[in-house]
Structure formats: structure tokens, C-alpha cells
Subunit: 531 residues, 2 copies
Amino acid sequence: MRRFVIGSARNLIHRSHQNSQFQRPLLSSSYRLLSSSPSADPSSSSSSTMAPPVALNNINPKVLECEYAVRGEIVTLAQKLQEEITAKPESHPFEEILYCNIGNPHSLGQQPITFFREVLALCDHPAILDKSETQGLFSADSIERAWHILDQIPGRATGAYSHSQGVKGLRDAIAAGIEARDGFAADPNDIFLTDGASPAVHMMMQLLIRSEKDGILCPIPQYPLYSASIALHGGSLVPYYLDEATGWGLEVSELKKQLETARSKGITVRALVVINPGNPTGQLLAEENQKAIVEFCKQEGLVLLADEVYQENVYVPEKKFHSFKKVSRSMGYGEKDISLVSFQSVSKGYHGECGKRGGYMEVTGFGADVREQIYKVASVNLCSNISGQILASLVMSPPKVGDESYESYSAERDGILSSLARRAKTLEDAFNKLEGVTCNKAEGAMYLFPRIDLPEKAIKATEAAKKAPDAYYCQRLLTATGIVFVPGSGFGQVPGTWHFRCTILPQEEKIPAVVSRLTDFHKSFMDEFRG
Amino acid sequence: MRRFVIGSARNLIHRSHQNSQFQRPLLSSSYRLLSSSPSADPSSSSSSTMAPPVALNNINPKVLECEYAVRGEIVTLAQKLQEEITAKPESHPFEEILYCNIGNPHSLGQQPITFFREVLALCDHPAILDKSETQGLFSADSIERAWHILDQIPGRATGAYSHSQGVKGLRDAIAAGIEARDGFAADPNDIFLTDGASPAVHMMMQLLIRSEKDGILCPIPQYPLYSASIALHGGSLVPYYLDEATGWGLEVSELKKQLETARSKGITVRALVVINPGNPTGQLLAEENQKAIVEFCKQEGLVLLADEVYQENVYVPEKKFHSFKKVSRSMGYGEKDISLVSFQSVSKGYHGECGKRGGYMEVTGFGADVREQIYKVASVNLCSNISGQILASLVMSPPKVGDESYESYSAERDGILSSLARRAKTLEDAFNKLEGVTCNKAEGAMYLFPRIDLPEKAIKATEAAKKAPDAYYCQRLLTATGIVFVPGSGFGQVPGTWHFRCTILPQEEKIPAVVSRLTDFHKSFMDEFRG
């Protein structure tokens, strides 16, 4: 019964587990119990009867440590204001809360891609597939695709747990999509379908982090999922700074410097996180830059964790997204040369299907024994949701020229992407017009991350308010205009600099209002604090 | 930038975080980096360039420790045989693999509940809701319910992230369903919707377990999610034995004994896991027994983690499921008296919608500050999938008498449940007819857990095969008949006793074949090893 306490990993590696285990009585083999020394914790004696069993001082400190600003304090305040407005419309100087805090396109009115939803609906209720009315309601290729997908699923059972990595046929479609994107082979057995990309990131952190002595190189600014996941798994975030002056450039010299600093402090750096296109910074890495990053990971023996969930969100014609898999393969590096994990999600792109919780990671360059461990962890949660799995396969194999839905699909896709590009430009220009604000170009992703230089008097006021200046600015903006930005401190920034993250997702017709409300607020804020 | 390394929890509690943090330069405040002593790990020096960065000897040992037998070795073998049969139908003495290893009803041919799928399809593709053809394809109340659900979702956006606990309107429906079930108040703010029940269990383990000194009381036999989750979170499983002689009875005296044993060894026991109806044991707890368990948790200051995912799977008219929430409230215990978490899933019950990954936990008796921490952890993963959320609300508020779908719904539900009861009885009788096999009544859930007394010669043979006897038996059964059982060692059993878990899920018309294949195999197995 050794499995019931953490035993020696060696035993497991040598597979002597089952063999040795059944010869031992359960409790005497639970040596963790035997070897433990008495605990000082009062709740370990029955004298704790009257105290509540769970309190902040006795929960997992890693949970306390974890932070996630995207849904933090500012959003809680926004929800409170929302309720007040619903109860009493005139209670605030604005009619609605504009959530620019999170990349959640459908919550701001973006419509789903029709073809995707047709296929999902038909897979949810296959009983209607051969009804005549269905022909009138659904496109021919959505019906065809639904049949094809159902044929990939054993027993056509969309209500069954799938293989723990996801339905094999859907992984085949995703691998084919990756090959079409990169021009290099992809193996369906490398794909792990997950409920959005976040659980995939957690799985890798769980695999790599043994203690606070294990470090993960993360960009600053970063998407706070990474800091949260590293905190929850008890590791150390090793920050590397993106260079705002060069459009949030990623310098390998900075990676080297931070890696050495961390190592000199006894940290074993296990992996490098790169977010491309950048979140919250929106920059798109150049291929040469990516090659240098791959070389760096190979030389230093780091796993490259490539967050590529915004791969479809590119707004500058002169630049193109290149996956790290494509880049490393084009350098002649294969399975044996580089350990690379690429994260993809159905929540982003032009589709923005956040609520479906679909995503995957492509895991390459790991030994079969380690892959087996990743599979085991995936199997504990059985599988990701099948609708999300189906949607992930659709995103990687959308309608093609000649399909009935191709025209409507590409019109919907291009309409969304071109509108996002216009919104990004309008907001970028608006920010750059504000006193003391500078904003880099959003080449990709869904965000702007403007920098704001606040007057000394404002800084003083924020100290009195016991708030970071950026948090203070965002709170004032919210209560004055109903617009929700996230303070830069939630993502990380060079000490003494202040930023905020703003999504480009409000519907296009609302952008002028956002701009004017923001501009008016900013002017009065600066007037208030100008020396 | 303190948030980027695990800092002092005190700072977070006192909320001085934002305030203090922006005055410090990033690296100098990363005291985890500063305070760490040099590491001996070779991969912390760039001399590791040539070694693969990730190997079994440098991954998180908690991952190595974790085991999940339900999808373990035996299933891998089954998948291999499946492929061989597909490639060469005559390659084995059976035509198909019969997966009795996992509670996955739809994978064995169980059909979904029509009403649930109608609503899901309409919520996936609301564009067809007001089309005339839709009237002909969908029941009137499914259309009405879809409209109602969409109206609960801001912007009717099923493609948007929801509140991190789940859509408020859906939590309202679930709370109403709990009230109707228990006759006691339920608060939608206590509901956390999750992607199946497993992530909810992980969240609670993550919250409660600080180190291997923290223990969780778990039944033996248990559903291996618990041992896996405790291992992944670095805690200690404190086993308590169910009494096979009394139909897998749960004795509070045994709980007390194991609690004291653990405490005497310095383990702080945080929580008690109770699975009711039992998995793998299928017993249904009597209300008096539940009261004693509640009293025990209250007296000992333990969180009661109630796995109630099989609450609809009850096959004995003389017994009834009572939730621990109802039992504790009926004892007069409220929020302040007992910390109770109830887990529910859409994967089980009569619906068995495993692939939808819907579920929730109802969290009661925790302070607001701790609840805030649970919310924070939920928010890091944004939200559970919306289809799963919708299905969870449907399961807790199915069609009512008078609704157009009520008749078909109740016919489908009762047909499945009565068939499961018949299958359980047939298999139970068959097991009890086998030489050396005794099998308790399946009062609920989806499993039988027969005990097998193996001849001495068989035990010897298994030692030679370096397998536990139960694992050896299951492997022989699989290769001879294509039937997949899970060895009892995957769930835990009294040392020296051997069991296996068999689901009652093969379609009814297949049960006779299962019985005869099993009976023939067992006879020849016993003949082979009889002294």
C-alpha cells in the first residue's frame, strides 16, 4: 500500500512497486507515517474541536502566495459597480461597465464562427443529423464534418471519456493542421488536448518544479497565469525583462544575464517561457530572434515553453507568426535536440471561444519515460471536455476553398481580424495622444500595454491611498468611466515604471466612446495632480 | 515584484503587498533568489548542455509517486489488444475488448438523455432557436429551456468565460435543485462549477495540504483519484478500512483508531473523504451512520469531503441516498459547526455524460477569507466549460411533470436505472457462483468489487510473474476473454486479500456473454492452479 504515501521515487522507477507492495501490511509500509516526527500544529490534537478546521494560517501557503490580477481587486470592484448600476441606473456617471481587463471577446459582443457552432451543435445532438429539417438549418459541410468527427469517436459517443490525450482522430486533424502551418511533420501522439491552455501550463509546471530551488524564466511583463502556476507549484519565477524601448524586444543577452544570476543563487532553471505574440505586450518575435532563443535553450538545457495561443492574432502585414517548432526544425533540430512544448487554445485567435475551454499542447523532445509521466498526470483527470476537443480540431482544420461554408467562414474570420487591427490602431493612437502616456504598436494578440508617467503629486496621493500608482489610476478610471483596465503591476514592469493592460476587444462602434471617456478622464486626472 | 517568487504569506494576509511592493527594485525583493544556497544539481550549471533537460531523475517526485490504476497498465494492454484485433480480427479468442474498468457508460453504448442534448445543441448554436425548422427538430420545452439558460448568461454568450465559479443563473438552478433534494437552504455562492468533479477534489487538496505532515483520511478501498491527488499535492493518505464482512461498512471506531494512529505519528489530519454511494464498493451509508460521521468530523475538527457523484445511482428500494449536507443540517449543524464540501458530477448518475466534463462542489462552513482563496485558485483557470456548466444545471433541474419532455425524459432515466439494477444483480450472482469468489451487493454506484481467494499455487505463479495476484488474474482474464477488470490493488485492500473492480455498464444484452466468458475463464484458471 506504499502508493498511499509518497514513497521513494527510485522504487517506482525500478518498477519493483507492485511486486514488493503486496507483501507488506498496509500501515507498516506507510513509512511516511512511521517516520514523521510529532507536529506542533494544534489542529493535530482533538483540542482543536472548537476552532474552525481551516483558516488562512493553516492553508497551503502556496495558495496564499498565488495571485491573478486579470480577475483581481479591480474586477471585483467592477462587478460591484455593475450590480449598483443594474439596481439603480443613475447611480454612476456611466451606463455600463466596459470590461477591457480580459481577453474574452464574446463577452463584449463578438459573434461565434457559424461553421464551428453548427458542427458543435450537431455533435451534441447527433439524433438530428439525418432529419430532413436539419438540411434547412445547417450547412452541408457542417453536417458532413459532424459525421466525420463522430466517426472518429468510438461508438460516436461524445458523452464518453476519451483517451486521456484526447480523441485520436481529432489529434490527427490537429497534427495535420500543425504540418500545414509549419511545413514540418507533427505527431498526433505528441498532442495533449486540455480544457483551455491553462491546465496544460499547470501540467508542465507540475512536472518540472520540485521545489523553490527550481526556476522558470518568464518574461516581464508576463501573463500572470505563469506567476500564479509557478507559485502554486512552489517554484521560483526567474524574471527576464522585455525591452519597452525596442517595442518589447526579447534580448538573448538579457536571458543569459538572468539565467546566470539565478544560477549563482543556487536556482536550477528548468525552462524558458516565451509568449509569442506577446501578452500583455503584443509584440511579434522575428524569426532570427526565435532562432537565437532556440539556440539558447539548447545550449543551456532548458525546456522551451512556447505560449502561442495568439498565433492567429497578427495585425501587421509586414510580420508573420512562426511557431517555435517550425523555427527549431528549420534549424535542423529534431526530437533529440530540443525539448519544446507549444500551447494553443480555442479561446483566442479570431474565434475567441473562451467558454468552450478547448486547447492543446504539442510536447516534443521528451523521452518516452517522461512522456509516460505526463500521460499519467493527464489520465488522473480522465480527459478534457469533448466539445472543446472538437473545437480545437476545427480551429486547426477550418473549412477549405470549395467547401460550402468557406465563404461565410472566411468572411467572418477576416471581418473579426481586420476590425481588431483597426481597433488596436485607434486605441494605440488615442493612448499616444494622452499626456505622459506612450504606447507601443500592437503587432498581435489582443492587448495594449501603455506606459504612463504620473506626476509626483499623483504618486504621493497613491502612497496615501496605500495603492500602487497604476492600481490607483485604474481604480479612478473605473469609478469615473466604467472602463476596466488591469494595472501593470499585475503583469510585472520595470520598478518605478507604470503601465496598464487594455484589451482591444470592445466592439468597434464603442471604441470612440471608450476613447473620449478615457481622454476626458485622463485630462482631469492630470489636471488634478499636475504640480 | 515580490509576487514573482513565493514570499511571506503574512504580507499577503495583511494586504500590504501592493503598497510595499512598488517601492522595491525587482530583483532585490526576490529574496527567494537571494536567500537560496548553491544547488548541487548538475543541470544548474551549463555543463548540462548535452544531457536531456528533463529525465525521470529530475522531474517532480510527486508526479512519479502518483498512480491511477483505472487507466493503468491493464488498460494499456487492453488498448494494445484492441489494435491487434482491429488489424487482425482472428488474432485473439475474442472479437472485442469489453471495458469494465471505468465508469464510462456512453463508451459501452448507453444513449444520452434526449432533453439534455437538445438543450446543449441549442445553446451551442442559438442562431437556429427562432427558425421554424427547429420546432420540428426539438421539443418545445428544450427550446424554452435554452432561451431561459441563454438569458442567464451575460450577452447570451456561451463562448465567453463566465464568472470563475460558473454562470450565476446556472448556480441558482443548481442551488434550487439541492434545496429540492435536501429540504434545506442552498446558496448559489457556495457552488463552484468545475470540469467534472476531479478538478474540484484537486482544488480542495491543494488548499488543505501544506506538506507530507498533512494527512487526509481516505477509505480503503478508495477511488484512486484521492490517492493520486494527495500524492500530487505532497500530502499523506491516512487509510481507514471499510469492513467487507458488513457489506463494506464504515465504522466510526475505525476512523478514530486511524486518526489517533496518524496523530501519534505527527500527522495533522485535515479532512475525511467519504464516498457515498461507495466506489469501488457500491455500499450506501445509513443515515444514522452518516450522523455519526458528521459528529466525528465536528468533534475532531476535520473537513468532510463528501464524494456524492453517485447520488442518483441507487438500486435497492429499501435504501435512500441522503446528502451529508442534509444530514448535518438535520442535526442542527449549520455554517459555523461543520466544514463540508459535497462533490457532484454530470459523468455519473443515469445520464453518465463523462465527456462533457461538468460538475460542481458545494462549499459550506468555511470563512469568507478562506472562500476568497478558493475563488482565487478557481479564477486562475478562468472558468469551467460552459456546456458542462449548463449540463450540471440540467441534471439538478430536469424536466418536471407537465413539461413536454417529462415523459420521454423519465422513461429514459428509469430505463437506464432499472437496467443498471438488473445488470448489477446478474453480475453479483455470477461472481458469487465462482469458486473462491464472494461479492457484496451493489446498492449503488456503478461497480462490483468481488473478493477472490486464490490457490497457493496461483500466488506462487504471480510472484514468478512479478505481479500482484489480483493484477495477474486480471491480466490473464483480459488476454483470455477481452474483459477488462481493474485489480483491487489499484484501490487498496486489506493486505493478503485480493479483489477486482468490475463496472456494471456493459449493455444488458451483452451481460450473458460476459458471465459465460468470465465463468469459463475462472474455471480453467482455478483448474490450472488448484493444488
